[in-house]
Structures are given as C-alpha cells and as structure tokens.
Symmetry: C2
DNA sequence: TATTGTTATACTCTATAACTATA
DNA sequence: TATAGTTATAGAGTATAACAATA
C-alpha cells in the first residue's frame, strides 16, 4: 500500500529537484554534507547507502557547479575532504523547502489528528533497524 | 523518511517470497489473478503497471510450475486466457499470510491508536491520484 | 602491502523495435 | 491492416574488478 504512495512522492520530489536543476543523487549528497563535512568519499558513500564508484560522477558535477568543495586531505593525500559550499547550502535548502511544501500540501488531505499520528508512526517505524523489519 | 521504511518492508517481503520460492513479479501476477481471471497478457501487464514484454518470462515460469493456466482464447486465438490454478492460489495465500504476519509484527511497535491512525492515513494518502501528489 | 579514489567492465532490469500468428 | 504475443536489441542504472596514486 505504501509503495505507490512513496513512488508518487519520489516523482513529486524529482519534479521539484528538476526545477532546481539538481539530481536525486546530488540532493542526497548535498543533504548529507549539509549536516557535516565528511573526510572520505567512501564514508560519504556509506552514509548515503550508495556504492563508492556510483557517486563519483555526482561529485564531479557538484564540484564543477561549485556546490561542494573537494580537496585532498593535506594529512593524507589519498583522501578527499568533502564539504558543502554556501551556494550548495542555499541550493539544498531551497529545494528542501519546496519539497516540504509539497509534502505539506499532500498531508493536508488528512485530519490534524491523523496527520500527527501518521508522522509519529512513520517516524517510529523508520527508526526501527532494517534487520528488525526484515526479521 | 518513508523511503527506507518501504525499502526494508520490500526486503522483508522478498525474503518471505524467497522462502516460498516465488519472485516479486510472480507474486504480483498471482495476486492480480487471484482477484479475477484476465483475458489478455497486455491487460494483465497494464493492471500491474508493467510492460507487456516484461511479464512473459514470469508467466512462463508460473505456467511451468502449474501456478497459472494460460490458454489461447477459443474465440480469438491471438489472446491468452490467464487464470490462477488451485496450486497458485494456495501458494499466493500462504505467501500473503506470511507477509502479513511480518507486517503485523512490525506494526506492533506502535500503540493501538497510532497504528489505527497510521493505517487509516496511509490508506487515504494511497488513494490520492498520482497526479495530485506530484502536483 | 594496504588504502583511497578512479576507470573499465559486466550484469541486471527495463523499454523499444522487429517479428510471428492470428484476425 | 490491425492486434496479441514473442523475441531481439538497446539503454539506464548498478555493482565488480582492475588500476593509479599515496601511505
């Protein structure tokens, strides 16, 4: 039952992101880096549940667009220090605001009570570890 | 927030289905045919939101396993009459029972009130047309 | 020798196009 | 000629393996 709903929400999110000119992976990366900088690409990949080879082109584009910085760590030049730039932060927050606005619009279909309970329940279920859900 | 949850739920469902020896697409097809027989493969494909070329191998396997019947329509031998068999119905219902049992287990993490509200809200949101969610 | 990042390759899933058979 | 089904082909997305740079 939730699957088509999530599919629609993702489609909505993609549409918003397209208006902002960023891809889903770019948005995921920007969101991760908006919380805190990360010292290696492998750590970023793991944090967002992606393969380390899969994010390289995304990082290329983000760097070229000036939305992230990506420099060799002076202390270990194999690693790349990753951080979001001011432009990146602005872009991410603007996109996030639009995404949230749409979600609010959708949630407006619910009564205030159901809506609160839905969000509370979704949060509780999302907090369950993957293994516990899979069993 | 919902996306990882759904991902975990799908993983759980896949694990259950694997124990029953059927694939996700097989389960989707069996579920569609358990409701009512379908006169053409194209109609089935549309009903489950799949491409008509994509379900052929699935139908091959289901037929070989004796879980569905698939015969040329005597009145128009281009079409294939599709129906679930008794074995297919048993397999589908057994899998469904296990899937539901796991979902119950997961939902047990919620209070009775939140759980009811969550299901009610999920149902309401799922009933929204795709276009209204995308905007 | 081990690790980080990158590139090259292969694999899976899906969609598009061409083909066969029926009408 | 049009339609149902099938097969062949191509494309996107992803993961695996090999490689270069640094430690």
């Amino acid at each position: 039952m939730l699957q088509p709903l999530v599919k629609s929400l993702i489609a909505a999110e993609l549409r918003v992101l397209e208006e902002h000119g960023i891809s889903m992976w770019s948005y995921v990366v920007l969101s991760a880096l908006d919380d805190s900088p990360i010292r290696t690409q492998a750590a970023l990949a793991e944090a967002i549940g992606a393969d380390k080879t899969r994010i390289i082109s995304t990082l290329d584009r983000l760097q070229e667009a000036g939305l992230i910085s990506r420099e060799p760590d002076p202390e270990d030049r194999r690693a790349r220090l990753l951080a979001i730039t001011q432009d990146g932060r602005s872009a991410r927050r603007a996109a996030q605001a639009d995404i949230r606005a749409n979600e609010e619009r959708v949630l407006a279909a619910l009564s205030a009570a159901d809506r609160q309970a839905f969000l509370r329940a979704a949060q509780a279920l999302s907090a369950m570890p993957h293994e516990e859900i899979v069993g």
